[in-house]
């Protein structure tokens, strides 16, 4: 424990602690292992963005004699995210807990997805420049990536059915944020992404020529505000022309 406070980035110390946890009958340090929240006392609060600390947290959670309900882990990540939106590790942990809860049927995907959108919108509006939230935001992208979800969820109409409605709502919300933050690359990038999804998956009911034109205009702006990634935007435009 002392070594970790000095060297929180050394894999092997975390590994050794994990080994102790699983092999030493009452150790290491019974002080806080029973409840990972005991960590908040010192080290955890200081190192809450350390990827190795989160990794160890999962080891602790998995090894608890009486498993802690995942809903309380979800609440924990909510607290961490609300305290600091720029905590990619907490967003990540959230994605894992949610997937697990959905696949076990312990949480209704439709309702909890709405909660996710609320949290994401709060974060977006609080710090539109922070990457963490924009990478987490494509829940629609995530719901649609069949490989990440168990079959039972993939086929659920709750997730696929109102896709278009969600895409359109997100486009509206991000557009109003872009109006406030006219140079926000993340807003533009996300708008292109969701509009392309509309084009690809709802081409019969969507106004395709307007959407395409809007995407092309946004890509042009993106090449200016984010010139380093110009090649990627060129490629997206080419794909758009093909669709």
């Amino acid at each position: 424990m002392a070594a970790l406070k000095v060297h929180p980035k050394v894999y092997w110390i975390w590994n050794h602690r994990g080994w102790c946890l699983n092999n030493v009958p009452s150790g290491p340090g019974t002080e806080d292992e029973g409840d990972p929240r005991g960590w908040e006392k010192d080290l955890w609060n200081k190192r809450v963005v350390c990827v190795l600390a989160w990794s160890y947290r999962r080891v602790v959670l998995a090894s608890m004699p009486i498993p802690r309900p995942e809903t309380s882990e979800l609440a924990y990540t909510t607290r961490k995210i609300e305290a600091n939106f720029s905590n990619f590790s907490a967003w990540h942990q959230r994605s894992k807990v949610l997937l697990s809860l959905w696949s076990k049927g312990e949480l209704d995907p439709k309702n909890s997805r709405e909660d996710e959108f609320d949290l994401v919108h709060d974060a977006m509006y609080t710090d539109p420049k922070d990457q963490s939230v924009w990478i987490y935001h494509p829940l629609a992208r995530w719901f649609r990536s069949a490989c990440f979800l168990p079959l039972s969820i993939q086929n659920s109409r709750d997730i696929q059915g109102d896709d278009k409605e969600i895409l359109e709502r997100e486009i509206t919300i991000i557009q109003s944020l872009l109006d406030e933050e006219p140079d926000s690359k993340w807003c533009m990038e996300s708008l292109v992404h969701y509009k392309s999804l509309l084009l690809r998956n709802h081409s019969l009911s969507a106004n395709t020529s307007t959407l395409r034109r809007e995407c092309i205009a946004l890509l042009k702006q993106l090449r200016e505000v984010d010139s380093g990634r110009k090649a990627r935007y060129d490629e997206i435009e080419l794909e758009l022309a093909k669709s």
């Binding site: 999962r58 990619f88 942990q93 963490s132 990536s145 490989c147 380093g228």
Partner: protein
């Protein structure tokens, strides 16, 4: 950036690497004993990429590698009398192949050692003490492939574990549940590439995530909202080259960033400008420049992180794409 740092200082880096092994009285030499075998591999591969393969004595290097053989375990330690570990075993194999001395190796025993580290879940442990990580899965796949013994591996089980480490952002973590990190993305992409399972990767999402690793100063970071570091030049670029998307990175800015982290006096490359240099960052900086088509460098195979010509000769080349080599 000062004027002298706008080119790769090849002769300085070569002499920096040559001098590394000479200061055995230096404290750092002993503090890094657990990484000695890896350090030799990094130094040798950087020299090969800079077209100075013979700058270190071949026979001395091969003898050193063989002196790290752990007869009991059937693998290599990082240093004589250290226990065998999968990390140093891969480095030993890579050095012996690069130095055309693979005939010194008891291939059957090494294969047995590596296979013994696979866990019921499909992931590999680093040694008999059991730390697990997708890094070790890649190392096992890489080593078995180099030894022509991939057929001995339970590939489905190996891939099965890696796929479970895939996250919503398209990236991969060190174990099931762990968050995406550029170095873990590299090891998982490379293992899947060697096993011809690139279709398990969500290419558009992952290449977007990788492209967003580049910061305004040109350097690359390993995760969102983190600092840049020269070594990510390799982890990110190598992954992108397997996905055929190296052009998503601004090559001029990244080249300048890597060059700015050179030490213009003693040679070597640091993690970022002004920091202490080391052989790890020197190797991965030069490797990144090679993928970016920097003039005068030799092609590096991003999947195996070894000279491309050697991998091609062994018939192991996969369908990666680097940027075209620029004329000097």
């Amino acid at each position: 950036m000062s004027k002298e740092l706008d080119t790769l200082l090849v002769p300085l880096h070569v002499s920096y690497i040559q001098n590394l092994g000479k200061n055995k009285d230096d404290l750092m030499y002993h503090l890094t004993a657990h990484l000695r075998m890896n350090a030799i591999y990094w130094g040798l591969t950087a020299l090969c990429t800079m077209n100075h393969r013979d700058a270190l004595d071949r026979d001395e290097m091969v003898e050193y590698v063989m002196s790290c053989w752990d007869e009991e375990a059937g693998g290599f330690g990082a240093h004589p009398d250290h226990d065998a570990h999968i990390l140093s075993t891969l480095s030993a194999i890579q050095i012996l192949l690069t130095q055309d001395a693979i005939d010194r190796l008891d291939i059957d025993r090494v294969v047995k050692f590596i296979l013994s580290l696979q866990q019921p879940s499909g992931v590999f442990a680093g040694d008999s003490f059991g730390e697990i990580d997708t890094r070790f899965s890649y190392i096992a796949v890489n080593a078995l492939s180099l030894l022509g013994r991939l057929g001995d591996l339970d590939a489905d089980k190996t891939v099965g574990y890696i796929v479970q480490c895939r996250n919503f952002d398209g990236g991969f973590g060190s174990r099931v549940g762990a968050e995406s990190h550029a170095a873990q993305v590299f090891v998982c992409c490379a293992a899947l590439t060697i096993l011809d399972k690139l279709d398990e990767i969500d290419t558009p999402t992952l290449s977007w995530w990788l492209a967003e690793r580049q910061l305004p100063n040109g350097g690359l970071n390993g995760r969102p909202e983190k600092l840049e570091d020269v070594c990510y030049s390799f982890w990110v670029l190598a992954s992108l080259s397997m996905l055929k998307k190296v052009h998503y990175i601004n090559s001029d800015k990244l080249t300048s960033f890597i060059l700015s982290a050179q030490d213009p006096e003693g040679g070597g490359i640091a993690d970022r400008p002004g920091d202490m240099v080391d052989v790890f960052h020197t190797h991965f900086g030069v490797a990144g420049l090679s993928i970016l088509g920097y003039p005068g460098l030799v092609d590096l195979d991003p999947v195996y992180c070894m000279p491309a010509a050697l991998i091609e000769k062994m018939g192991l080349r996969k369908g990666w794409q680097a940027l075209e080599r620029r004329a000097g």
